[in-house]
């Protein structure tokens, strides 16, 4: 299992566009990929889950990846989450 604390940089938090981009990327991998906020785990493969997290700009969330392709998935998701999700 790989974990990393990530600060949400998206100006408006995890709204529809960033969430859609995260899900699109996460679905390429078999690993379990989730964001953890306030001890709640939100699957990165579900738009509904990500929107439910209500993660805001500058908020810290934990990226948690586990599974057979976890290294590739972790690298890709971390890069995406730390980048500009508004594009």
């Amino acid at each position: 299992m790989l974990e990393k604390l990530i600060v949400i940089k998206s100006e408006t938090g995890l709204h529809a566009r960033p969430a859609a981009l995260i899900v699109k990327e996460a679905q390429k991998y078999r690993s379990k990929i989730a964001l953890v906020k306030n001890d709640n785990e939100y699957s990165c493969k579900s738009i509904m889950n990500l929107l439910s997290s209500g993660a805001r700009k500058d908020e810290e969330v934990l990226l948690r990846v586990s599974g057979e392709d976890e290294e590739a998935a972790f690298e890709a998701l971390a890069k995406l989450l730390e980048g500009n999700l508004e594009a």
């Binding site: 938090g13 529809a16 969430a19 899900v23």
Partner: protein
């Protein structure tokens, strides 16, 4: 007696229009996140009034901080996002009013939000409001209605 024990999964679940206005397919929404169904499949409304009511019986899951979008879970398991306008996230809640909270149980027609039509028309890219099913992987059948006479916009069957 024949249909008395009809299985739930074989029944259509109706999703009613949450806003008065012109119906259009999700593929016509001027934002590829929606038109390419990245969020899910659905129907959009070009609103003629700024009043959003619940399209289903269910629970309010989340309301975006910026008050322009709401996530609902119908009691039958269908999950959906109502996203008022396009690029409305940039308006930071200005012109929007919310009348419900996460955890609230709602019925069809209950008032969820209002917004100032003219303000959103000026402040956002478009007023077009997608209503999107976000758990399409559980939906086994989906029919949309573009007929203005129908009060429903979609009917779906869900795998249970």
């Amino acid at each position: 007696m024949i249909n008395l024990f009809k299985r739930e999964k074989d029944q259509w679940i109706f999703i009613y229009s949450p806003i008065m206005g012109k119906k259009m397919d999700i593929t016509e929404v001027p934002d590829e996140v929606f038109s390419q169904k990245m969020v899910g499949d659905g129907v959009a409304i070009d609103p003629s009034e700024g009043r959003v009511t619940s399209p289903v019986e269910g629970e309010v899951i989340q309301i975006m901080d910026t008050k322009h979008a709401i996530v609902l879970k119908a009691s039958n398991g269908i999950e959906m996002l109502i996203h008022i306008g396009i690029d409305t996230v940039k308006m930071k809640g200005e012109g929007f009013e919310v009348y419900t909270s996460p955890g609230d149980q709602v019925k069809v027609g209950d008032l969820l939000m209002t917004f100032e039509l003219e303000k959103v028309r000026e402040g956002a890219k478009s007023l077009v409001t997608p209503i999107v099913i976000t758990n399409m992987e559980e939906i086994t059948d989906l029919v949309k209605s573009m007929d203005e006479k129908d009060q429903w916009i979609m009917k779906a069957k869900i795998e249970r």
